[in-house]
């Protein structure tokens, strides 16, 4: 069952530019385990959309199958949602995006859904640069089938069953970077201050924005020997930068230290400001991002933050030159059907 959150609203809840409160961005009550990292990510999505004053109905949220893929029910209740097929969310999102390029597409997936059964679709969605936010809620375990290792489980990491994982993990951020993803970020469900602006930056990005969020599974993979437990991530997390999302047409007044901050103008006029913690990282350099990740991994640290942005990103519609005048789905027969006289010409060619 889904349970709806009671309609009662505190009268003094703050409202955004559209007059919505954060409650208007909530969904049904989560049925995930108490303390699940995924619920924190849902909360971050709600906060990001509320702060950016995104009309909820202009969002389409899509997912595959698994615990993570259940979460779209728990945020943006006024948006259309699609809980599709295991590992196949990228294709459904791609098709939806083809039909209407004017909506915001948020895809939610997990490590099983993305790095195993859905790997093929994931890499091709990256390659096509479908304009969407793709969040992989990565807990290194199959939760809904009760605790099997996934393809992102670190070598040696122990799940609840106690067996250390024998195989090398797939690093989704590294793969996304190598495939030419135009926006790649890594974050942690327990770090909302970092995650919310990353989601906002991803929403602003035009193209495929990939966010890998380490999201501990409290039931099956929050054990002392796990490398995706709350404790482990808190102890081993390192950031390349912290991020501020500055909406379009907002004056930037905060003072930043010269030389450590970098402002990245997004296509809609908003600005992402990076407070660099690692001075050598160039946010526009794919190779720098990959090298940094390797370095931190060698030190047994998990690098978080926005790793890479391509500001000149061209999404699939631009690459294919589909009409920008109106969503394809809104075109009528007058634009679509060549009519009887054209058909007679075609008949003639075949005589």
């Amino acid at each position: 069952m889904s349970y709806n959150i009671p309609a009662f609203r505190h009268p003094n809840l703050p409202k955004n530019d559209l007059g919505y409160t954060s409650k208007d961005y909530e969904g049904a009550v989560s049925t995930l385990c108490a303390g699940c990292g995924h619920d924190s990510i849902s909360a971050a999505i709600i906060e990001a959309c509320f702060e950016m004053s995104i009309p909820p109905h202009r969002v389409a949220k899509l997912s595959g199958i698994g615990c993570s893929s259940k979460t779209p029910t728990y945020f943006l209740g006024n948006s259309h949602g699609f809980n599709s097929v295991h590992g196949r969310m990228p294709s459904v999102a791609t098709g939806a995006n083809m039909a209407n390029r004017d909506l915001l597409y948020i895809g939610v997936s997990g490590d099983g859904d993305t790095a195993s059964i859905g790997m093929g679709q994931f890499v091709h969605a990256v390659r096509r640069n479908v304009n969407m936010v793709y969040i992989c809620e990565n807990n290194g375990v199959y939760g809904l089938t009760k605790g099997q290792d996934s393809a992102t489980t670190d070598k040696g990491s122990k799940s609840k069953k106690g067996e250390p994982n024998a195989l090398e993990p797939i690093d989704l951020c590294a793969i996304a970077l190598q495939l030419g993803a135009t926006f790649v970020a890594n974050s942690f469900s327990g770090d909302k201050d970092q995650l919310v602006p990353i989601i906002q930056a991803a929403i602003t990005h035009k193209g495929f924005a990939f966010i890998n969020v380490i999201s501990p599974c409290v039931t099956f993979n929050n054990t002392p020997g796990s490398t995706k437990s709350y404790d482990f991530i808190r102890q081993h997390m390192a950031s390349t930068n912290t991020v501020d999302y500055v909406p379009p047409a907002t004056e930037i007044t905060a003072a930043y230290d010269e030389g450590t901050d970098e402002r990245v103008a997004m296509h809609d006029g908003s600005v992402i400001t990076f407070h660099k913690l690692e001075s050598k990282h160039d946010i526009h350099s794919r190779s720098s991002a990959l090298a940094m990740m390797q370095e931190f991994k060698a030190e047994d640290k998990v690098l978080t933050g926005i790793l890479f942005i391509d500001q000149d990103s061209q999404d699939i519609h631009e690459a294919m030159n589909t009409t920008a005048a109106a969503p394809l789905r809104s075109l009528n027969a007058d634009k679509l059907c060549p009519g009887s006289s054209a058909l007679e010409e075609i008949n003639n060619i075949h005589r």
Binding site: M1, S2, A28, P56, H57, A60, L62, P72, G77, N78, S79, H80, G81, F82, N83, S84, V85, R88, P90, S91, V92, A93, T94, G95, A96, N97, M98, A99, N100, D102, L103, G120, Q121, V123, H124, I316, H317, M320, N321, T322, T323, A324, A325, L328, R329, S330, L331, N332, A333, K335, L336, C337, P338, S340, A342, L343, I346, N347, H350, R351
Partner: protein, 615 residues
């Protein structure tokens, strides 16, 4: 050899090596005959290969308008030494074998009951052309010229076709015409022309067109308003999308911006292709894919989701002979069951069975209306024979007053005026068809969560059994509604009441109709017939079978799949449906059907009995 002269009633087959440019020469021959007003039906028989293996092109020339495959070859143009032994053996008694006599024919292959016509084509080409590729290409054009002489045709139509094809490229036109003329003269010089098989101008083609089914499906999708297409290359369906793309580039480029009013995504596999179609359709676009058997298998999971979640989906399945490589470049009607019941859980899908290019065009265009009306997958079951061979067809027509049926969709205004709660899966009208909304329509109303099985009428997650049953029963009501609106069967009844019928579908049509004609003319057997055009079966289908003691079910697969579908859906006594099967990968012939029915009827004096080979 003394022979009767046969005009416009014979079968010619070309044996070539693939990748040598023979296809366009052979097409030039068949199109010339067509332009002379004589009905033809060409069939390609080709390997899973790009260059070097045997390939055949069989053309039936029939001024009576019978366009199925007849069976048997009268004139073989044997240009491939690899297959020559088989090709010579295939010629019917009294026929001809035309070959390149540059190299002498192996005397062991000679037959006394057919005539051999040798033409030193390669020798001539070596004299005329330096470039080896040109020698190869023009040898093909040359034999087309020779055939014209042998059959008593004039060259003007072939020359006209070359001029049309290479319009503006005078040098190419000239070179091709020279090759044609050389071949013509060569035959005249070396042989008595014309031979006993002749082609003469007639007026039997009328306004008909010559087109393949895949082009017709691609064009039907343009006319049907498809804006999104996602696909993965697979023989024999690839040219459906190629043609969709070609016609879109012609008709769908925005004149002001130069941008595309369509999107075609070549997916990474068939799983993604159907996923994209479902995503686009869910979001309100008309979307489709084209595939063949293996692709249909891969799409099964998603087809189930589309069925349960009630998302319009259009899929063109150009059937072929099974998995992997090799026979899959041959034709079959062997996806009938895997299409009708595709996927897991309780599913069944609307299927359409076109028999001609015109039906490919119309049924593809109609499929989008049906998909949106019934919010479910529509599978169009063409096959390689129809899809990849030129078929003579009635011309296509389109009613400009026709409006797309976008089905039950609430607009922003509908939602705004709605006082009750929106229920995505509520049976508001009692026909089993619920109302849907597109994402992004209304700020506060109409949003819902799409998922497979576990939902109530309001699309809210539930695992309660009664809710599941309620939903599944509503989908069955929808199925009943659909059975009244899908294309009806074509029924032909004999003048006198008759107790035996013949059931066919898809590309078995032409050969069946011809077989019935000859059964009547040659053996005095007249039978009723019914061509099935869609599944679910409309009422007429069951009634036709009921009205007959027994019916033959003609199909091109091993397992009598349509027969199984009929028995399963209607609970017929299996003995009432006699399978008539052909599945060697070549299109079913009229002769085969006639012989099978004749033998069965002459052996069967009482009620039908079991014949062991079929059970």
């Amino acid at each position: 050899m003394k022979r009767d002269i046969v005009t416009n009633l014979f079968v010619i087959k070309f044996a070539n090596v693939n990748g040598t440019g023979s296809a366009s020469a052979n097409k030039l021959f068949s199109k010339s005959v067509f332009r002379m007003g004589v009905p033809i039906s060409p069939k390609n028989i080709f390997p899973s290969n790009i260059q070097g293996l045997p390939t055949w092109y069989e053309v039936r020339i029939n001024e009576n308008g019978f366009l199925g495959r007849r069976g048997g070859i009268d004139v073989m143009v044997g240009m491939n030494p690899q297959s020559m032994e088989r090709d010579i053996a295939e010629v019917e008694k009294g026929g001809y074998f035309v070959y390149d006599s540059t190299k002498p024919l192996n005397p062991e292959l000679k037959r006394d009951d057919i005539d051999f016509i040798g033409l030193p084509l390669m020798e001539k080409c070596r004299e005329m052309y330096e470039d080896p590729r040109q020698r190869q290409l023009f040898r093909n054009i040359m034999y087309v010229g020779s055939l014209a002489a042998l059959f008593g045709m004039k060259l003007d139509i072939a020359k006209q076709l070359i001029a049309e094809q290479f319009k503006g490229k005078e040098k190419i036109i000239e070179a091709n015409c020279l090759a044609l003329q050389t071949g013509y003269d060569l035959a005249k010089e070396l042989h008595r022309c014309p031979i006993a098989f002749r082609i003469e101008t007639r007026d039997k083609v009328g306004n008909k067109i010559l087109i393949d089914g895949n082009e017709a499906c691609g064009l039907g999708a343009v006319y049907g308003g498809a804006t999104v297409s996602a696909w993965y290359p697979i023989t024999p369906s690839t040219s459906v999308i190629d043609n969709f793309a070609r016609y879109c580039r012609r008709f769908r480029m925005d004149p002001e911006t130069g941008q595309k009013n369509f999107a075609i995504v070549q997916a990474e596999d068939e799983l993604a292709a159907i996923g994209m179609v479902i995503g686009a359709s869910w979001n309100g676009a008309r979307a489709f894919t084209a595939t063949s058997g293996p692709g249909l298998s891969l799409m099964n999971e998603f087809l189930g989701l589309a069925y349960f979640a009630e998302i319009p989906t259009v899929l063109v399945d150009v059937q072929r002979a099974g998995p992997s490589t090799g026979m899959p470049t041959r034709t079959q009607q062997s996806d009938v069951l895997s299409a009708a019941y595709a996927s897991h859980g309780d599913t069944k899908h609307i299927c359409l069975y076109p028999s001609t290019p015109k039906e490919c065009f119309e049924l593809t265009a109609t499929a989008f209306d049906l998909a949106e009306r019934f919010q479910t997958p529509i599978l169009i079951l063409s096959d390689l024979d129809l899809g990849m061979n030129d078929n003579m067809s009635e011309p296509f027509d389109w009613d400009d007053a026709k409006k797309y049926d976008r089905g039950k969709v609430y607009s922003e205004e509908d939602l705004e005026n709605m006082t009750e709660r929106f229920g995505r899966y509520l049976d508001v009208d009692g026909d089993g068809i619920p109302y849907r909304t597109y994402p992004g329509t209304h700020p506060t109303k109409g949003a819902f969560f799409t998922r497979g099985t576990s939902k109530d009428d309001y699309a809210v997650y539930t695992e309660i059994g009664e809710k599941y049953i309620g939903n599944m029963e509503r989908i069955m009501r929808k199925w009943e509604t659909a059975s009244k609106e899908v294309p009806k069967p074509v029924i032909r009844k004999t003048e006198k009441p008759c107790t035996v019928g013949v059931v066919y579908y898809g590309t078995s049509e032409a050969s069946t109709i011809e077989a019935l004609h000859h059964l009547n003319a040659m053996h005095g057997i007249s039978l009723d017939s019914m061509g099935i055009k869609s599944f679910p079966f409309s009422e007429e289908v069951g009634r036709f079978i009921d009205e007959h003691e027994y019916v033959f079910v003609v199909e091109q697969n091993r397992d009598a799949q349509m027969r199984t579908l009929l028995i399963n859906e209607y609970n017929f006594d299996p003995e009432q449906l006699v399978p008539l099967l052909h599945y060697d990968g070549s299109p079913i012939t009229a002769r085969y059907i006639r012989h099978e029915i004749r033998d069965w009827i002459l052996q069967t004096t009482t009620a039908p009995r079991r014949r062991s080979r079929f059970y």
